[in-house]
């Protein structure tokens, strides 16, 4: 399989890391492409680069052959159904019913990204851990 696999800019990984690893028992690991953050065995954030139309499923979902840095996370209803998640910079990949993607770049609202990732974490984390986040952020 001949593909171009561009790395995610380190400054973006670092910014996401600050939010993700601040969450209880969250851990980071290299994903099949890019970097992902997990709680227990569930991925609540995944950042990767689309370049040269690869990975094709992401390129199709984000409507871009790249180069484009994208982040996927999980969201719950009713927020999941918000129209803005279907407009750039957001997109809705089809492979999980509750997955949302967003492109990351110069216009990114990093406060909103942090909030979305925290919610994604709370959605997937055991209740005991999610409750700790509520206590910390309220």
């Amino acid at each position: 399989v001949s593909v171009e696999r561009a790395p995610v800019p380190e400054e973006i990984v670092s910014r996401l890391r600050l939010t993700c690893l601040d969450l209880p028992e969250a851990r980071e690991e290299a994903a099949w492409t890019g970097t992902r953050w997990l709680v227990r065995k569930k991925t609540f954030a995944h950042v990767l680069m689309i370049a040269g139309g690869w990975p094709p499923a992401y390129a199709k979902a984000a409507a871009s052959d790249g180069p484009l840095c994208v982040l996927t996370f999980r969201s719950a209803r009713p927020a999941l159904d918000a129209p803005r998640f279907r407009r750039p910079p957001f997109f809705r990949p089809p492979w999980f019913p509750d997955i949302v993607g967003t492109s990351l770049g110069g216009d990114t609202d990093w406060y909103e990204v942090a909030s979305l990732l925290t919610r994604s974490y709370c959605l997937l984390a055991p209740k005991k851990l999610a409750a700790l986040v509520d206590l910390e952020h309220e």
Binding site: V1, E29, A30, W32, K41, A57, W95, F96, P97
Partner: protein, 117 residues
């Protein structure tokens, strides 16, 4: 069976063999989705499910993805009505890219294309 499924003759042959019941469809779809998600989560940075170690799970996974996301005819010839049945599942069950990439790696390194019987 029918417009989005197997041709009626094939469906009527398969349904009793696999205990098909229309009232089980919602649960079955959910279970398949959960299984796919579980597999996608299990793929880490290594090339295989267990890191650098190739196991039967890798082969089974690649084969299973072929049902959910059929390879093109030049790589995997399928009778058109049967292909239609498999392809029609795509609208309801999209395969996570991690699994598709894993399949590509499996065929690149360990399995043969085209798939012929």
């Amino acid at each position: 069976v029918g417009e989005r499924g197997f041709p009626p003759m094939v469906g009527q042959h398969l349904a009793p063999r696999y205990g098909f019941s229309s009232d089980r469809l919602p649960v079955a779809r959910t279970r398949v989705g959960e299984g796919i998600a579980l597999l996608a989560e299990a793929l880490g940075p290594g090339p295989y499910y267990f890191g650098d170690r190739l196991t039967a799970l890798d082969v089974y996974s690649a084969a299973a993805v072929n049902i959910l996301d059929p390879l093109p005819d030049e790589q995997c010839p399928i009778m058109p009505p049967i292909r239609h049945a498999f392809e029609s599942m795509k609208s309801q069950l999209a395969v996570p890219p991690a699994l598709v990439e894993h399949r590509a790696r499996m065929y690149e390194r360990h399995l043969e294309l085209p798939i012929v019987t």
